[in-house]
């Protein structure tokens, strides 16, 4: 056997060292220098309380089961995560496994009390859940953790406050911290809420949150609510709904009965008239209603028809295998559903059935277009005049409105 000289090892060793250094340079140092997401304008920094909650979240190992990134394919989670979402994070908590749901968009979806109860006894709210119970957390830790939960996502630190116009969804008020110092604490007003969502749509910078060509215009507003919103609702009425941050159908109904402003909502009828109107205004109004409803039909065909059927009679192919069949919108009760009832039902889904919570997937204006179609189907018990119209492909603006509805540019990663 040849005796190999000792020095022969040096050059290959240097070569491998150089290769390794080059790779580390490329995959670690270059991203560090070049990949710096800009400071987002509509995202505020964590409050002291939220940062403490983030430490609790890390300490208790929550990130082993809950991811903190909403991926493109997570269609029911809400907005896709962007690099700038993590701007204020000192260490990352992306996670590598999803034994529990993703939490990147959890903020504002549940009231504080829900989070606390769920942390203490997860199975009291979600039977069969495998989440550990965190009864051992101190009250301070629990409220910090809850504040951190509420700070996440489009309804968290990134959202706009429609009432004050500030860049946050919550009010920052002074409160006493654990050491007795006064600190800013976020008080949340989130939840599914037609009026608040509608106001957010109308607010500035809205396009940054949803990638959608559907645009909420005064025209849609009028067709959904009857007449100009401002004329109908006083500021007090807006507040009444906005502060009922976890509205049930009953609560909304009660609010309507108690508040004359809310009761005064007049809803446009989508019922096809027996005779086609002859005057030009009536004809135009009918055409508008049909167009809006037909646009909602595009969303419906894509997202709803597999269970509820193409004509809304609950005979979708997927309904056959369900324990509780999908709803038949030809039933009489759906004739009387109001805009806010439809909106709430579509957003929140039906617990205990396969009906998803569409607030995670459809933007508020998409849901509003869908409401128009649902009202049309409910009141006409079928597709009616829409049968003759071409259903738009979901995701594209209707051909008649191409000039007035600019599609928002796709944000880059």
């Amino acid at each position: 056997m040849n005796q190999v000289n000792r020095t022969n090892y040096i050059f290959p060793a240097i070569g491998m060292g150089l290769i390794l250094s080059a790779i580390i340079f490329v995959v670690v140092l270059i991203p560090r220098w070049t990949f710096r997401p800009p400071q987002p304008k509509d995202l505020r920094d964590y409050t002291a309380q939220e940062l403490r909650g983030r430490v609790v979240y890390t300490r208790e190992g929550c990130f082993y089961c809950h991811s903190m990134v909403s991926r493109p394919q997570d269609w029911d989670h809400g907005t896709k995560s962007k690099a700038s979402d993590y701007y204020y994070d000192e260490w990352h908590l992306l996670g590598s496994e999803r034994s529990g749901p993703d939490l990147s968009q959890i903020g504002g979806k549940f009231p504080d009390e829900y989070h606390i109860q769920h942390h203490k006894q997860p199975r009291s709210l979600k039977p069969g859940s495998i989440m550990p119970n965190y009864e051992y957390l101190s009250n301070q830790d629990m409220s910090d953790l809850t504040a951190y939960m509420q700070s996440l996502g489009s309804n968290g630190r990134r959202a706009l406050n429609p009432i004050t116009g500030e860049l946050q969804w919550a009010e920052l008020v002074d409160a006493k911290g654990p050491t007795g110092e006064i600190e800013k604490v976020a008080v949340w007003k989130g939840g599914v809420n037609f009026v608040a969502d509608r106001n957010r749509i109308a607010s500035e910078n809205y396009d940054q949150h949803y990638e959608t060509p559907y645009k909420y215009t005064a025209e849609v507003e009028e067709l959904l609510l009857g007449t100009s919103h401002e004329a109908q609702l006083s500021k007090g009425a807006v507040q009444a709904v906005a502060t009922a941050n976890f509205p049930t159908e009953e609560a909304l109904r009660k609010a309507r009965m108690e508040n004359p402003d809310l009761r005064a909502w007049t809803e446009v009828s989508y019922k096809e008239p027996d005779k086609t109107p002859t005057d030009i205004v009536g004809l135009a109004s009918l055409q508008k209603r049909r167009t809006i409803a037909n646009q909602g039909r595009g969303i419906y065909n894509q997202k709803c028809s597999s269970c509820h059927g193409l004509e809304g009679n609950g005979r979708g192919w997927a309904s056959a295998s369900m324990t509780k069949r999908a709803a038949n919108f030809w039933e009489d009760k759906f004739e009387n559903y109001r805009t806010d009832t439809w909106y709430w039902r579509i957003s929140r889904g039906v617990p205990g059935t396969q009906m998803p919570r569409w607030e995670f997937n459809l933007s508020p204006e998409q849901r509003l277009y869908l409401v128009a179609f649902m009202k049309y189907v409910g009141q006409n018990k079928g597709l009616g005049a829409l049968k003759g119209m071409e259903a738009p492909v979901y995701g594209l603006p209707p051909s008649s409105a191409k000039t007035t509805i600019p599609s928002s540019p796709q944000p880059s990663n």
Binding site: V27, V28, E90, H92, R98
Partner: protein, 478 residues
């Protein structure tokens, strides 16, 4: 020890120094520590698995909560069990291959004490919530720095031995082990934010660079290096191809290093980095194929030895697991497969495939082969060793099957649009029960190993006798 038996008046410092400098003691103590941490680590894993299935098992004890037990399990198994066992085996193999003594037995023993102290403190820190919250890098900074120092000490010992060698030619194992000593501290520095700190989403890039390279440039290079030594040694076959070993060694550092970002394929990190990660993940087939072809052709004509030789059986099982791991790995790192499988239990199963199935088995094989040779005692029981093998193998197969199928269930449910909670609550329960059961089998196996080891080292007199050792025959120059 025997020459000191007659002396009576030794100060405790002298006795301690004697204790440190017994020949072969560092290797023995590292192997014993490895086996001990293997038992502790798998027990922690079993506890986590049971909590996963029965979440109300532990109530109100923060230290035993799942979120704290899981990182403790990973750190004890990775840094305690596999790392210490392979380092112990290296302290035997490298001097053998260099035809010299270990550079400094005393330093090696001090390293052993320091390393064990870090693991003990690590268990304390992680169960009490002192964590950095970054996977595989959870240990707080006051343990990162001692561990880094330990790695520097390890360089001194290994390179001291290599530079003192009497054998001019360096065998493949020495390349791997000596290379690892230099690469891994760099990776460790970057991953643990010791001098390199990034905030925001960039932190995840650094974290997964480290998270994947602790596997690629520490466990793999150590484990493969050891297998390069043990397979020819046990079978007495020459290594099949020198060229293939050069190919395998030179490509592993090239293709393993950039793969980390394949853990972040759907996250908002730069696309070019994802492309680099996916391509190099697929290119990993080159080092893997060259190494495995080399191993399996070295076995030519000696496959029957697997039936009788316990260490060889562990190594060969490990290499079959390595084959499966490294064929599923590149496949699940490609974009579309990852799109479907990411975040599911499939990935957890894959991690156990690599760490438990492959490098855990290499560590056990090394313990069975090296311990009699460094301690001079014959194994107490072959039956216990066989039982350990079969219990662990059954456990690993059940665990990986359960996690893989559970992962496919999850992926299909999510693809269909089911919420994580609804898809996960009841459907996965039987798989998680099977996983906990497999953990029980593995823990029982570890108890048997530890009992066997205790009896071997303390329970019997007598020295190693070649004729009474059918399963670990000596001989066959590498």
């Amino acid at each position: 020890m025997n020459e000191n038996a007659g002396k009576v008046s030794l100060s405790w410092v002298d006795r301690f120094q004697d204790w440190l400098s017994i020949e072969g003691s560092a290797s023995t103590r590292f192997l014993v520590s490895g086996a001990l941490w293997g038992l502790v680590g798998t027990t922690l894993g079993l506890l986590a698995a049971v909590e996963y299935w029965a979440p109300d098992l532990v109530r109100g004890v923060a230290q035993l909560s799942f979120g704290r037990i899981r990182p403790t399990h990973i750190n004890v198994v990775a840094f305690g069990f596999i790392s210490m066992a392979t380092v112990g085996a290296n302290f035997f193999v490298i001097p053998e291959l260099c035809r010299t003594k270990l550079y400094s037995e005393k330093t090696a023993n001090l390293l052993m004490l320091a390393w064990n102290a870090v693991i003990v403190l690590g268990i304390f820190a992680l169960t009490n919530g002192y964590t950095e919250g970054r996977e595989y890098a959870e240990l707080p900074w006051w343990l990162d720095i001692p561990l880094f120092m330990a790695l520097l000490l390890y360089i001194v010992i290994i390179w001291g031995t290599v530079l003192n060698r009497q054998e001019k030619q360096l065998y493949v194992t020495v390349w791997y082990v000596a290379g690892t000593t230099l690469w891994f501290p760099v990776v460790y520095l970057i991953g643990n934010k010791i001098f390199f700190s990034v905030t925001g989403i960039g932190d995840s890039i650094a974290n997964w660079f480290y998270g994947h390279n602790i596997l690629g440039l520490w466990f793999t290079t150590n484990g493969i290096g050891l297998t390069y030594y043990f397979l020819p040694k046990i079978t007495k076959n020459p290594l099949y191809s020198h060229l293939l070993s050069i190919v395998g060694f030179s490509t592993i550092a090239m293709f393993y290093t950039p793969t980390g970002t394949h853990h972040l394929l759907q996250s908002p990190v730069p696309e070019w980095l994802k492309a680099v990660a996916v391509i190099s993940s697929v290119m990993l087939l080159i080092p893997v194929m060259s190494v495995l072809v080399n191993f399996f052709l070295t076995m030519k004509g000696k496959w029957n030895m697997v039936a009788t030789n316990i260490p060889l059986r562990f190594f060969i099982t490990a290499m079959w697991f390595y084959l499966l791991t490294c064929f599923t790995g590149p496949f699940q790192a490609t974009r579309w497969i990852n799109w479907y499988l990411h975040f599911t239990h499939w990935v957890v199963g894959h991690a156990h495939f690599a760490l438990l199935g492959t490098f855990g088995f290499v560590a056990w094989g090394a313990i069975y082969y090296v311990l009699p040779r460094v301690s001079g005692k014959q194994w107490y029981s072959r039956r216990l060793a066989t039982a350990h093998y079969w219990l662990t193998l059954t456990g690993v197969i059940i665990m990986i099957s359960a996690l893989t199928v559970a992962g496919l269930y999850q992926a299909a449910a999510w693809e269909e649009g089911q919420a994580v909670y609804r898809a996960g609550a009841y459907v996965l329960s039987p798989f998680m029960a099977a996983r906990a059961f497999s953990g029980l089998l593995i823990v029982v196996g570890q108890i048997l190993l530890f009992f066997n080891m205790y009896k071997t080292l303390f329970g019997q007199e007598g020295s190693l006798d070649e004729s009474t050792e059918p399963d670990v025959p000596i001989g066959g120059k590498a």
